[in-house]
């Protein structure tokens, strides 16, 4: 067994052009060094039943000698900080208050607001303790005093909380729940005598949702992270009554010129960035760290609007999580300038050594695009990096319990899954929930991603390389452009290519990416969509930072979690997220077919339909018999139609001139339709009994001599290499590609 986890690493950025530099950030907990080699990835799947691993060495200076490794820690947990200054360090009598919506109560200490140096065990903090009680704590010179609530508060209920210290040292804790019905009422007013004199630690930041360790990077800087939402925090230079603090928190516009108003933060401002804005005259602006979820409903959300863009003031909360991650922050171990003569493709840094007698082999992926401003092939393959990010370090098969029954068989997990299960600091996928059960809506590439690299589990990245392998086997050159390239540069990136190909599962699309593809089609482009469940979820890349996507899963679709009420719009852009179908652009509009069903127990084959005998489609089936089953073989559950499949549907936008060439509609009892396919719940809907559950192979001409060909199945490309590439899936794919490369109108 190969050890794939004793060295881990990632590349930044993922997409580089010749002449540009990629950096590699590596870490090993116990191995001192490794050999490095760059490989161009032709096939990332080691399964001996298929083409096998095909990694082509690309000579670089990294080939010379080993590189020294070190253990680089990854710290998680989001928070917001305000830099220290005299106004904060000199605050001896004060009140601090806000609304909170805790999503974990009990089991761990969670700091709401603090100015605390843990190394000195000194400062003040308003927190939720490990029994779920609120407390206001003051500590100085070895003395610690707290005012603590008599009961725990409730999970997922808004509550106003405040702490204060008066000039004579008295500490007060106040709390009032927003809802008082159904046993939800929590009202606390607790006092402790405190101690009369304090001397606060110097140079200590004010933190929301965490405490400062007193240390700095690469060591751990924060701990006791808060899980949940914090709305409208206020800091005032006197000990106020509960009513006065609550009034200060309630109001969206505190009196700015009040000399005792230290800070009043409005988290609804600058929603798409890292800054938090102070409304007071002190301009105590700060920053969020590690991607807490912004555009979160506040305690004042009415339910009358569902997008933060309609009234940002109802979205003045930030949802913090103890397991948020934006960038692992590992120092670069080495860098590489991409040589001018490298061909575009999927690449990876290979790290090898041995762990005792066990060989160690690990990878950090990146993509080499063609030189900027030009193309080097007639074919562009779109590397679905948004989808790789969405699935990055997916824990859902481990954390959720339905995958074995979905597959109707034992799950096969990898050693990488075993590792990521225990190393949650490597961050989650957008399929996962945080430790507080809320959905993960951001994903970053700046961390080791163990399920998108050679030898990783057989979905997305590994499956996609079967298409690369086939293209190379057939002698086709190709350029690779990534989703993020297409998002940032738009249609001009695709202009001039005769054929653009989507791979096995381009599920996550931004508006800019869809616009680019649609523009390419309208300009006479030839588009091959050789996957399943494509163009399904609406996402956005971060407006300024590379390698970060955002998704809100909404309330329909095949969703592993649901957006919380009112939080369906992206913080990055304000766009509605969820299904593209819900934004009026169902996948059928782009490529003729759209998500129909999951089939994870076995894959099936296509049979030809009357349209396949139309003269306009005859080129597709050259060399294929009239009654020949198409794709009754393959590496993914034995067929070319499976895993996730798509169907044509005129009501969802399939083109009026579409030819449905073939269909795979005998998917069996494991073919389960997507939830948005059914108006009600009733018997007889599985693929065993119903042809609504199916993959359709379609072809249609578009404007200016363009055309679209879609197969609507994730499994398709994993059948290409069957029988030494001499099979009808390969034949059909080749027929279409060769015809699409031919300039004459379809």
């Amino acid at each position: 067994m190969i050890d794939t986890t004793s060295i881990l690493g990632y590349a930044k950025p993922w997409s580089v052009a010749p002449g540009e530099t990629v950096s590699f950030h590596l870490s090993s907990a116990h191995l001192p060094s490794a050999s490095l080699k760059v490989v161009r990835v032709r096939c990332a799947d080691p399964d001996p039943n298929g083409p096998g691993l095909k990694l082509l060495h690309a000579a670089t200076p990294l080939d010379d000698g080993d590189v020294q490794l070190s253990s680089q820690p990854t710290h998680v947990g989001s928070y917001a900080s305000v830099a220290d200054g005299p106004i904060l360090s000199g605050l001896t009598a004060f009140s601090v208050g806000c609304y909170i919506y805790p999503t974990i109560v009990g089991g761990c200490r969670q700091t709401i607001v603090s100015r605390w140096n843990d190394r000195l065990d000194s400062g003040w903090k308003l927190e939720l303790d490990d029994e779920g009680h609120l407390s206001m704590t003051v500590a100085c010179k070895g003395m610690t005093r707290s005012a603590r609530s008599s009961r725990s508060i409730l999970r997922r209920e808004w509550i106003f909380v405040a702490g204060s210290r008066s000039a004579d040292g008295t500490i007060r804790l106040e709390a009032v729940s927003l809802s008082r019905d159904g046993g939800r009422e929590r009202v606390f007013s607790v006092e402790d005598e405190g101690f009369p004199a304090v001397q606060w630690p110097a140079a200590t930041p004010l933190l929301f949702a965490a405490q400062w360790t007193g240390d700095s990077r690469p060591n751990k800087e924060t701990f006791n992270h808060f899980n949940g939402k914090i709305d409208r925090p206020r800091l005032y230079g006197a000990a106020l009554t509960r009513a006065d603090v609550q009034q200060l928190v309630e109001t969206l516009h505190p009196v700015q010129t009040d000399p005792l108003l230290v800070g009043a933060w409005d988290f609804s401002l600058g929603m798409n960035g890292d800054e938090i804005t102070d409304l007071s005259a002190n301009n105590l602006n700060g920053s969020v760290h590690r991607l807490p979820m912004r555009a979160a409903t506040g305690a004042n959300w009415t339910g009358q609007i569902h997008s933060w863009t309609e009234d940002p003031s109802q979205y003045g909360a930030i949802h913090f999580h103890e397991d948020d991650l934006e960038d692992a922050g590992w120092a670069a171990t080495t860098t590489l300038s991409i040589p001018d003569d490298w061909q575009s493709g999927f690449y990876a840094l290979q790290m090898t050594t041995s762990n005792g007698s066990v060989p160690v082999e690990s990878y950090a992926i990146f993509f080499v695009r063609p030189p900027r401003g030009r193309r080097t092939s007639d074919i562009a393959v779109i590397a679905p990096t948004a989808t790789y990010l969405a699935y990055a370090n997916n824990h859902s098969r481990l954390d959720q319990t339905h995958f074995e029954v979905m597959a109707d068989g034992l799950m096969i997990i990898t050693a990488d899954d075993v590792y990521t299960n225990e190393h949650r600091e490597l961050g989650s996928s957008t399929y996962d929930t945080h430790s507080d059960d809320s959905g993960v809506c951001y994903s970053t590439g700046a961390r080791p991603i163990l399920n998108a690299r050679p030898r990783s589990n057989t979905f997305n990245y590994v499956n996609d390389t079967h298409l690369l392998d086939w293209l190379e086997e057939m002698g086709h050159g190709y350029d690779v452009v990534t989703d993020e390239d297409m998002h940032r540069e738009g249609a001009r990136l695709l202009s001039g290519y005769r054929v653009v190909i989507n791979m096995t599962h381009p599920e996550y699309y931004s508006k800019e990416m869809l616009d680019a593809l649609e523009t390419y089609q309208n300009g006479g482009g030839r588009h091959m969509y050789l996957g399943g469940n494509g163009f399904y979820w609406r996402v956005a890349f971060h407006p300024t930072k590379t390698g970060i996507i955002e998704l809100r899963r909404g309330l329909t679709g095949l969703r592993s979690w649901e957006t919380e009420a009112g939080e369906g719009n992206l913080s990055f852009t304000g766009e509605p997220s969820g299904l593209w179908r819900s934004s009026g652009r169902a996948p059928q509009r782009l490529c003729g077919v759209g998500f129909s069903a999951q089939v994870f127990d076995f894959s099936t084959y296509y049979r030809r339909l009357p349209d396949s005998f139309d003269d306009r489609a005859s080129f597709v089936f050259e060399g294929v018999g009239a009654d020949e089953p198409i794709g009754n073989f393959g590496l993914r559950l034995g067929g070319a139609a499976g895993l996730e499949i798509d169907r044509a549907e005129p009501n969802l936008g399939s083109a009026p001139n579409i030819m449905i060439l073939a269909t795979a509609d005998r998917t069996g009892a494991g073919g389960i339709p997507a939830p948005e396919e059914l108006p009600a719940l009733y018997r007889g809907f599985t693929g065993e009994e119903n042809a609504m559950v199916r993959a359709d192979m379609v072809l249609y001409p578009t404007s200016n001599g363009g055309a679209v060909f879609s197969t609507g199945s994730i499994a398709w490309c994993c059948s290409l290499s069957h029988a030494g590439y001499a099979n009808n899936v390969s034949q059909i794919t080749g027929n279409v590609l060769n015809r699409f490369l031919d300039d004459s109108p379809i």
Binding site: H402, G409, L410, D417, V418, N421, D437
Partner: protein
């Protein structure tokens, strides 16, 4: 919040239906008769006896038995002495554990022969 509750799988399993045990032993990968399919659904949905998984030792050739934790993030238990070169053998091994966990009845040795 969307969650699958393993405890809701409740199709009754009759410990006397050894004919279904025998059916599974003969064809662990199916197809199953309707009664056996429902029992298998219960086992795979509920994971009674353990949420077992397979971990490749040699890609496509050899797998090791593993057990997922009941609490998120706890270690996956691996059984290096329980390896399989056929997926069907792994299914049968786990079926026996789950049958006993649900019915309290151990599958007799005479039934427990190599499929």
């Amino acid at each position: 919040m969307l969650q699958t509750d393993p405890k809701t799988a409740h199709f009754p399993v009759d410990p006397n239906r050894l004919d279904l045990v025998e059916e599974f032993r003969r064809a662990p990968k199916g197809p199953y008769s309707p009664d056996l399919q429902k029992i298998v659904h219960r086992m795979r949905w509920g994971g009674e006896g353990g949420r077992f998984v397979l971990i490749p030792v040699e890609p496509g050739k050899k797998w090791m038995l593993g057990l997922l934790p009941s609490r998120r993030g706890d270690a996956v238990k691996t059984f290096s002495d329980k390896t399989f070169t056929r997926l069907a053998d792994a299914e049968w091994a786990v079926f026996k554990i789950r049958w006993e966990a649900i019915t309290g009845v151990r599958i007799a040795e005479e039934t427990d022969q190599k499929p």
